[in-house]
Symmetry: C2
Subunit: 228 residues, 2 copies
């Protein structure tokens, strides 16, 4: 089927070019000692809400910036700016994920000098974003309780790509008794996920403290790797 | 940028071939007087749970079958079969949506003779499935309350593609007071959505009855269009 081979060749070329730009982005982050974190999840799993709560909790301890990816609207960037943190909105139109070039272009509007952490909030999509390196140092995947504990089994590519998995909206566990944290862990084990998992709600508690501690360790590790 | 032009040409060719196979599928459905419905939503919005509840509520009134789309596992097809309805599972691997050829191939394992309704449950993804015609007669998009009332504004392509929008998991409204049904309707109006909207929970009530009534009208309309 020559049509299919041509398609695969074009996709391979796109991914190769993306990897080249992603490596360039990563060098750029490292030059400035910035830790770049790529947040991925289904739509509505709570990526923006997590960022809002994290900004409030850190209370200026780190210098942060956010790149927001959505098909349409500036809504999420506006929410971040309302927390006092600079944000650039990428609107992708029909595109189902961010790519390295979009992030590269966004950086023109976002000075990296002096930043500690750049959060990149990807398009809400549990499939496509996992296949595109943006130059980030770590992937953080969110699984919200209302989505169900079977999602790691059904979307293995995304969950295998994670360096940290956050099970969000745990305050809904009393109302969504069909969600079992144990079954979610078992599904992650079965697909071979070997990273850390934290269960949390944005309202605080041990899980949220563990998330902040993870973030602090990663910032410290980036500072040790790339002294400014 | 010749690379970009080549990519666009390949994508146009893929969509053209997909439309050809989709038209073939639709002819096939019409020959057998089968109403084909394409269910789309984010992961975990409740597509399979809606089908389970619908099968139970119809209690054999219509002859149903289901095509299930997931990256991995036979879980959803197994859930449908446990309700006594034939189901074929398509596992897409890395692919983020069903296409017409996948549905065509699945029909080899699913006799259409005597069927009233074929449900096609697409891969959980609020972006890509909207761009691929499968040969269905109607698109049904689910928006679950935990995802938030801003999703129509942020994923306009998917919501504009819908013939019917179901706002699901309304039993969670008392716990998710940040979701406003009025704001969801306003967001739909602003992107130009002109179809019907039903708010429902699978536990019954007026919304679920309205969904069953919509389904009965569509089956009757298909029978009137294509007498068997």
């Amino acid at each position: 089927m020559p049509g299919k081979i041509a398609t695969i060749e074009v996709i391979t070329a796109i991914l190769g070019e993306n990897d080249r730009v992603a490596a360039h982005n990563r060098e750029h982050f490292d030059q400035h000692g910035v830790l770049a974190l790529n947040l991925m999840s289904s739509p509505g799993a709570g990526k923006t809400a997590l960022l809002e709560a994290t900004i409030r909790a850190l209370d200026g301890r780190f210098k942060l910036a956010v790149v927001e990816g959505d098909l349409a609207t500036e809504n999420d960037a506006a929410r971040i700016r309302a927390c006092g943190v600079p944000a650039v909105q990428i609107t992708t139109g029909n595109a189902c994920h961010l790519d390295a070039q979009m992030v590269h272009d966004a950086l023109h509007d976002l000075p990296l000098a002096g930043l500690d952490v750049l959060f990149i909030e990807n398009v809400g999509n549990l499939v496509c974003p996992a296949s595109f390196d943006l130059g980030q140092h770590r992937n953080i995947t969110l699984l919200s309780v209302p989505e169900g504990d079977d999602k790691p089994a059904k979307y293995p590519v995304m969950f295998r790509a994670a360096d940290l998995l956050l099970i969000t909206k745990t305050d809904l566990l009393p109302y969504l008794t069909e969600f079992s944290v144990a079954r979610a862990h078992e599904a992650l084990r079965q697909i071979g996920y070997g990273g850390a998992t934290i269960e949390l709600t944005n309202r605080g508690g041990d899980g949220f403290a563990a998330w902040l501690a993870w973030l602090e360790r990663e910032v410290a590790a980036q500072r040790a790797r790339v002294p400014r």
